[in-house]
Symmetry: C2
Subunit: 430 residues, 2 copies
Amino acid sequence: MVDIATRVYNHKWKIDPIVRSLIDTDFYKLLMCQSVFRNRPDTNVTFSLINRSKQIRLAELIDEGELREQLDHVRNLSLSRGESTWLRGNMFYGKRQMFRHDFMEFLEGLRLPDYHLEKRDGQYELTFEGKWPEVMLWEVPALAVIMELRSRAVLKDMGRFELQVLYARAMTRLWEKIQTLRKLPDLRIADFGTRRRHSFLWQDWAVQAMIEGLGTGFTGTSNCLVAMRRDIEAIGTNAHELPMVYAALAPDDETLRRAPYDVLADWHEEHEGNLRIILPDTYGTKGFLQRAPDWLAGWTGIRIDSGDPAEGAETAIRWWKERGEDPRDKLVIFSDGLDVDKIVELHQAFHGRVKVSFGWGTLLTNDFRGLVPDNGLSPFSLVCKAVAADGHPTVKLSDNPLKASGPAEEIRRYRRVFSVEDQQERPVVV
Amino acid sequence: MVDIATRVYNHKWKIDPIVRSLIDTDFYKLLMCQSVFRNRPDTNVTFSLINRSKQIRLAELIDEGELREQLDHVRNLSLSRGESTWLRGNMFYGKRQMFRHDFMEFLEGLRLPDYHLEKRDGQYELTFEGKWPEVMLWEVPALAVIMELRSRAVLKDMGRFELQVLYARAMTRLWEKIQTLRKLPDLRIADFGTRRRHSFLWQDWAVQAMIEGLGTGFTGTSNCLVAMRRDIEAIGTNAHELPMVYAALAPDDETLRRAPYDVLADWHEEHEGNLRIILPDTYGTKGFLQRAPDWLAGWTGIRIDSGDPAEGAETAIRWWKERGEDPRDKLVIFSDGLDVDKIVELHQAFHGRVKVSFGWGTLLTNDFRGLVPDNGLSPFSLVCKAVAADGHPTVKLSDNPLKASGPAEEIRRYRRVFSVEDQQERPVVV
């Protein structure tokens, strides 16, 4: 029987919004936002969309009017009472009231700031400028909007059953991956796939499939809205954004060299346990660990997000041993471009030697490779990064030179300051 | 938003009924029923369930109580006003008012007669006795009920996502078959898969996928309820049941030899055009055609339902030529255990030589082979046949001795009367 009220209500939507909630974002953005709100609330930053896959000509695929409608919709969002209650009342990593009252008041009053959009060379130039704690929350919704508009553009001429079979194939593929993963003993894996997901509903499906297929091996999702709806744990810690902005603000080389540790000192003060996860690769993992203060070796674990992941983990294990720590007590989170084969390989290499965990992103929530002609739905490498802070360009080196960002001159300076030598290039899939 | 009334209404169902309509049956059963109602209304018949796949121990898989509930539900069904209107008003094969007023009144008043059910050797003995026009309508619902109860039994311990992926795989498989079929020029294919379908909803999905995937190449479904709901053509002509009962009633060999033609003489009087389709294999195709009266060669076509299908079609082509008919004006309907490879092969062999058409049954509506452990959902050979008429056993020889049925003594007599010589055995899949 048709529910007339629901149908009439649905007719009132002018668009089919992609992002429908301010907490349809990664948990770590909120954690970092609170840290920034406390420590650097007045820093001005610029975030910018960067499509590293130039062959995907987004401005030809996605209608500018539709993109503006979706972005405008995101600007109209505000925290709902239920979302606020969930954030205030939830227990994250065993800790209650992770978000302080002043931060929650800020978040409850927040609307995202304006954006600047233009087309150039078949791509969209999309930038956000303003106070760091506000602008930073654009990153994930901006990416999710563009990814899903691209999916819609590719799917728009397909028939109803063609679509159903497309999703049937994608479901089968994901389920087969899950069947492979469930064989791994003591597997711990989370969904990190919000930003480059095929669509919101597909991410939600993927999460539910992981819940049924992996049981307690599935530790949660980075997406707060999905975590709230599916009653599972919201997962995440911190990202390159923090050291990149702290570094950009450093007035001289000496302060710059200290910046990655300063940012973690602020974090150390605010968080404990599972939130004390080192992300060492922003300016090269090797040097970062060598120069690290001893208190960092006491942190819970490390997240490996670029370079050869096995090599990164071995480096961390050696470092912990040098600092007198038992690696078996330490958590290693792999999160760079994972798919099942790589997960199995890393699990076999490190299970028992350290506590292993996986943050599975794009190839969990957006693996439609080969399912439409010309690979039109393959994931691609789209990011939205802080490119400037108080007028200074930001720089990222990472353990893979193909993932480096910033002006060439500044990259050279950072490589000198952080003593980064030759690095191996690795293809960037997502 | 939950529609409370719908939810409360749904709570009232004591069971989830498999067959919910008297017209959830094959169109040809209604056509034959009308013929029987007119010509042999008082014949007493016995229909009996026969599981030719003994390794499937149905009585161990299916709960007897559940089976009785489903069969009792079928006995409570009566023609709804909308169904009656559709049967009375529809145009079948271009002809209006195919069903006469007296037959419609009979049908509107009909409730299916009682059944007899007991367990023996891990199988169900299920029989129906009574007037032919009533009992004959049990065949399709009885089979559909048992097939779907078997599906439910196999699926009952699977998780929600496991189930979704199971259907995702089945959908993908079917869609790939349809993609292969759509390449065949001038393909004409119909759904004949009601009786051994996986489930009603799955048949309905399969039909909709055929509509989208094949367009006008999909000519309709044998299922009246699906045809009505999906607004497509109901398809079918006649079956072995007619000559088998006519033959059983024959008092002597001479009448027996004439019986297969007598039944078609009745049919000839009642129907024209696409309903004049010869089903020649009941007592051997070769002899049937040799002895056939000339007016039969004027019929629209032939249905090949056992034996080697290409050989059967060649036999028909030679026969038409001998009788001065142009085979290119004749319709050959293949309907025996078809799957895509066989359809492609037969289409290539006969397209252009005759009008080719396919009645695709079990492997359209029930191909879950290999999708659960131990092939638990593979289709199997279940039939429900007239086994006696006015106390005389019925006999079927067919062009495949493995499909023969009846007492051995009677089979010998029929083979003599119809001059059936050596036949080649072919494995019976469905």
